[in-house]
Amino acid sequence: MARDRTEHEHPPVAGPRANLLSVLSVGLLGLFVLFILSLIVADVAYLGRRDYPPSEFWRNLTAPEVLAAIRLSVISSLITLGLVILFSVPIGYALSRFAFRGHTLVNTIVDVPIVLPPIITGISLLVLFGSSVGRAIEDGLYSATGWRLASLIGIVMCQFLVSVSYSIRACKASFDSVDRQLEDVAMTLGCSPWGAFWRVAVPLARNGLVAGSVMAWARAVGVFGPIMVFVGTMTHVRVMPTAIWLELSTGRIEVSIAISLVMLLMAAGALAVVHWLAPGRKWT
């Protein structure tokens, strides 16, 4: 039996009606999409122009040092993602739910890494750990664990510092959109504050939390300047962005582009996840 339409339902819109607003906004959208696509097409066309056979492309992409860079990028960014989630969910919750003195100031400070040029993060880390205190910390870490900072640790530090603020912003916005009365009701029914957070707020904010984390992960994978300045490019710390730069330094633009296309695919996958988690879509 066909359902009767109620007064609250509307027939689907067939498409934007052609008025000034729709033409302008869709036109700009089209222009922007065209520009992004032209960058990608230019990269692929460059390979074609140089008589770059697919077998050569595949050989460069599967060279041991390139595979090692891809592997290290994936490992380091996933560790960074774990740390980002660990920090940004509670911090976002605190900024959303708790009122305290200096809330505006703290809220602003949390945004500083977003506006700071990433290379300053690298320079600051280099200066910090080049100081006598910093060297003592690094020496202590080395004696205790055998790990130096010019290692996976340094890479994760750089990625984390550049990307965590994006996730904190997204988490705060997600918690802001959850009615806190629901948590209050949960607590009147016997939930602890932790229970209200974990069993009410987080599930309701989950789409936004995950989308924010994925965006932060995509940001972390692309971190370049701080890693160049603080960690360096030795073989055991080479990630995709620094590998791209190294290939460019010796004129191997086609290898740079090959690695860039891998990064593009990874970012596209991440963005597909973000859009799949768009508001209104059920999390199953």
Partner: protein, 256 residues
């Protein structure tokens, strides 16, 4: 229960992650640490491969721009060898920190004019740089050795650099990329840089009597934990075998 499954999945992922982390810790303590200019990578990596075979010594290289490796050497206050693609930085590191024990010239850098093979501008010499239809790329005079030399070189060939409105780069490698991608018509680069673009570009020689030659220098650092091995590496680069390897990968080892 869902929570338990999530917990087990997280633990499995963490364990898998730990296995994958093997090898990410850092270089072994007995490895030589070399700070080197990224543009030298092909030649120096080939030399290192042979050196490691013969001497059973691992060499770990931090490739970067000359300015950044200077910052690394200064901040970390450690390392065995310093080999920027720009001799000025060896002296500058020593001036700022006193960290260079000794330095050895292992190759020559000879400036050449780099043009794209498909260029129709018919550029033959530095005199063509003043033409209105020619866009020129030069190293920044305060950023890289090729930039510093280019000013003197152009003056010696009757060209005022300031009148050129040239695009300025931070490194000599950027100039190679610019010519290769047709961003500029011509640039002054090292012969070794030009060799990286031999597929798409060609190098025009500058007459010997009007050219200024530079050097690739490797500095042995006072912070070296393995001074004898560091000396061995420098000696290897300067040896006939080492010189032949550098030469095969685009570095000029005979006096021009």
């Amino acid at each position: 229960m869902r929570t338990t499954h999530s917990g087990r999945a997280a633990l499995a992922a963490a364990l898998a992650g730990c296995l994958l982390l093997v090898g990410c810790r850092g270089p072994e303590d007995d490895a030589l640490v070399l700070y080197a200019g990224a543009g030298l990578r092909d030649a120096v990596e080939a030399a290192i491969t042979e050196f490691e075979k013969q001497h059973e010594t691992k060499v770990v290289v931090d490739w970067n721009g000359s300015g950044t490796i200077l910052a690394h050497a200064k901040a970390r206050n450690s390392g065995d060898l310093f080999m920027p693609g720009d001799v000025w930085y060896v002296d500058e590191l020593h001036r700022q920190t006193g960290l260079i024990a000794d330095k050895t010239s292992v190759a020559y850098f000879v400036p050449v004019i780099l043009v794209h093979k498909d260029s129709t501008k018919n550029i033959r010499s530095l005199a063509d740089f003043v033409r209105a239809d020619v866009t020129v790329g030069l190293g920044g005079p305060e950023h890289c050795q090729i930039g510093r030399l280019s000013t003197k070189l152009l003056a010696g060939n009757g060209v005022d650099r300031t009148a050129l409105e040239a695009m300025e780069s931070l490194t000599v490698n950027d100039l190679g990329v610019w010519v290769d991608t047709r961003k500029v018509d011509a640039a002054i680069v090292w012969d070794a840089t030009a060799a990286n673009y031999s597929d798409s570009c060609r190098a025009i020689e500058i007459p010997k009597d009007k050219n200024i030659i530079s050097h690739v220098v490797v500095g042995r650092m006072t912070t070296s934990q393995h001074p004898d091995k560091a000396r061995q590496f420098v000696a290897f680069l300067a040896s006939p075998e080492g010189q032949a390897i550098l030469n095969r990968h685009g570095l000029r080892t005979e006096a021009p």
